[in-house]
């Protein structure tokens, strides 16, 4: 099981690197677009679509990494005021709900991608981009989030991770201090 958890963690980290690359690529393309449009006074054809697709891709592909690093915001007031047992069951319920959502969305977005692939859908813009390419990032990303959630579930069930990543008997103030320490660390 440890091997599986390690492998999924590595995949999620790789997702983070790919998403960061897509965002950096988006920034560079926007700069290129501004140069072509305003300095060379030429028309731009593919840049707007390409940057948007980069961002869509980064959102879905980067999501498992954000989940791994607990970056998806949540409201942790209730978990903080509950006892250990109730916290455990609540964490289990919240993981199962998110996992189910990702499972349903993976299936739905896969069908959507498949339709675009089979019918060779292209964008309405002058570029006529093949839409199955950006659409593919949805089932891939959501599938990988699902995988990361399976790891979270296994870690919770086997006691590898405490519910919501909170230490036993961690109070609201301690959790807030921990959050502040992390935020301070990030701004060094």
């Amino acid at each position: 099981m440890d091997l599986f958890i390690r492998a999924v963690t590595r995949i999620s980290q790789l997702c983070g690197i790919i998403a960061a690359g897509l965002i950096a690529g988006g920034v560079l393309i926007v700069c290129q677009m501004v140069f072509v449009r305003y300095v060379l006074n030429q028309n731009t054809i593919w840049q707007t679509d390409f940057t948007t697709y980069c961002l869509v891709g980064a959102t879905f592909i980067g999501s498992p990494f954000v989940l791994l690093t607990r970056g998806h915001v949540n409201v942790d007031v209730l978990p903080l005021y509950l006892g250990q047992t109730a916290r455990y069951w609540l964490a289990l319920a919240s993981i199962l709900m998110s996992l189910s959502f990702c499972l349903v969305m993976t299936v739905l977005t896969f069908n959507f991608w498949h339709e675009a692939w089979e019918q060779n859908w292209v964008s309405d813009s002058m570029w006529r981009a093949r839409l199955w390419i950006p659409y593919a990032t949805m089932p891939i990303g959501l599938g990988l989030i699902m995988l990361q959630y399976v790891v979270d579930l296994l870690s919770l069930l086997t006691g590898r991770q405490p519910p919501f990543g909170l230490k036993p008997r961690e109070t609201a103030e301690e959790a807030a201090r921990e959050q502040a320490r992390q935020a301070l660390g990030e701004t060094q």
């Binding site: 983070g16 998403a19 960061a20 965002i23 988006g26 920034v27 926007v30 700069c31 677009m33 501004v34 305003y38 707007t48 940057t51 948007t52 961002l55 869509v56 980064a58 959102t59 980067g62 999501s63 990494f65 954000v66 989940l67 690093t69 970056g71 998806h72 915001v73 949540n74 409201v75 942790d76 007031v77 209730l78 609540l90 964490a91 319920a93 919240s94 709900m97 998110s98 959502f101 349903v104 969305m105 739905l108 977005t109 069908n111 959507f112 950006p134 659409y135 949805m138 919501f164 103030e173 807030a176 201090r177 959050q179 502040a180 320490r181 935020a183 301070l184 990030e186 701004t187 060094q188």
Partner: protein, 442 residues
């Protein structure tokens, strides 16, 4: 089942799911899909994937990671320290100069980074020890920095305004301009209160025993000026109609990264990765909430819940200011628990028809909502700024920091009241520069 009953069920389930501790993005998505299936059957799922994707396929959204990257580049550099030093060295002999330089640095740095915690950390690390050294009371030193940090979501460029603009289809440029005067006024109110309280408590508010040389005064300016110039350039390009927000933000982000690397010699790949990692985490989190909030909004609209709620409130014939008070109380309580981005994306599409039907200007409401969200940033239990400041000054009890923030919370409430009495505080600048529009026109 009537839409009113459906609405009540959706509201209760949404609250339960959000409080369960599940990520807001996935919680909203799960609620949307569940209710679509329950009330409309499995056929409703055919459009879910397309709606989910369409929510993100908007070039305006590109500006979000760009502005986040701009803030991450400046936030991860020592620019905050230099900004603080520059202001302090020029204003240290002015009565109340230290307060003005602290809050001024907070306002400028918050505008540059758009991040409240980054601002508190950067300015607080320098400002709080200095204020305490010069005899300022602990609650004033910590409270003022907590409050100063919140200005980032009001003074443009602000991601909060971008999210509100996207969620309500209101002009982002107009919102940015609408935030300028209230942002400056709020900074002024913070400064006035701080100078007043230290004067009342009999503390010296300026340093009399030393002087900075002209060389020292000019030392920090060359380092910080390029960042201010970039942001000013981005705003100019935006309002000059030269480029779209995404184009301006994209070039601004690239320039800020280059400047941070060149000026502060951030050559190591670790520092580059830190900027990219923070940008990715924050942007993906926001964009994922946007995608699922669109799905949530689609569910509310297709079940006629948004329309029913707007009609029900209109039929109640409540006084519009009572309605505004109720909305603000609701937002205030939500802000104590939920981060601003999530609240804006979830509630503003629902609130927009209500406030426009009551005759309020959506741009003006965006400013009121943002100031309201600022209160949540310095109010327990979430109140991240309080704990950041408490980590910087660990010997000050956290309760003292909390009490120190109360006067600033009251300043924010006063600013909201002033905006209600004189809406032109927010609308004058956009109307003057971009031409007036009628309420409801966005």
């Amino acid at each position: 089942m009537s839409p009113t009953t459906q609405g009540a069920i959706v509201l209760i389930v949404t609250l339960v799911v959000l409080l369960s501790g599940a990520p807001v993005a996935f919680g909203l998505g799960a609620i949307a899909i569940s209710f679509l299936v329950i009330f409309q059957g499995f056929d409703a799922l055919h459009v879910v994937a397309e709606t989910f994707y369409t929510g993100l396929q908007d070039f305006t959204l590109v500006s979000i990671p760009m502005f986040v990257m701009m803030g991450a580049a400046i936030g991860s550099s020592p620019a905050g320290k230099d900004l603080y030093e520059a202001l302090d060295r020029w204003l240290y002999r002015v009565p109340g100069g230290l307060v003005i330089s602290n809050l001024g640095a907070c306002a400028i740095f918050a505008a540059l980074t758009g991040s409240s915690p980054a601002c508190c950390a950067a300015i607080g690390k320098m400002g709080i020890p200095e204020m305490r050294k010069r005899g300022y009371p602990d609650d004033v030193a910590t409270g003022s920095i907590c409050a100063g940090g919140t200005l980032g979501i009001l003074i443009p460029p602000s991601i909060t305004f971008i999210l509100y603009g996207i969620a309500t289809e209101t002009s982002i440029g107009r919102l940015f301009l609408a935030g300028v005067v209230p942002g400056l006024m709020l900074t002024g109110l913070f400064m006035l209160w701080t100078v007043f309280i230290i004067w009342k408590r009999g503390f010296h508010s300026h340093a009399i025993d030393f002087r900075y040389s002209w060389k020292q005064k000019f030392e920090s300016i060359p380092k910080i000026a390029p960042f201010i110039a970039i942001i000013a350039g981005v705003m100019y390009v935006l309002y000059g109609g030269v480029a779209t927000p995404s184009e301006a933000a994209g070039v601004g982000a690239a320039l800020c990264v280059v400047m941070a690397v060149v000026i502060y010699r951030m050559w190591s790949p670790d520092k580059w990765w830190a900027i990219l990692r923070d940008t990715t985490r924050e942007s993906v989190m926001i964009l994922m909430i946007i995608a699922t909030a669109v799905l949530f909004g689609y569910m509310l609209t297709s079940l006629y819940l948004t329309q029913t709620l707007a009609h029900a409130i209109a039929d109640m014939h409540v006084n519009k200011w009572v309605l505004m008070l109720m909305i603000n109380l609701f937002l205030l309580v939500s802000g104590f628990f939920i981060p601003p981005a999530a609240i804006i994306l979830m509630t503003s599409p629902i609130l927009l028809p209500i406030i426009t039907a009551a005759g309020f200007d959506p741009v003006w409401f965006g400013v009121v909502m943002t100031i309201n969200m600022e209160i949540g940033l310095i109010h327990p239990p979430v109140g991240l700024n309080i704990y950041i400041v408490s980590s910087i000054a660990p010997d000050v009890p956290v309760t003292k920091v909390m009490w120190g923030t109360i006067p600033y919370v009251l300043c924010m409430m006063l600013q909201i009241v002033l905006l209600c009495l004189l809406p032109e505080i927010a609308t004058w600048l956009p109307d003057h520069l971009m031409g007036a529009i009628h309420a409801g026109g966005g």
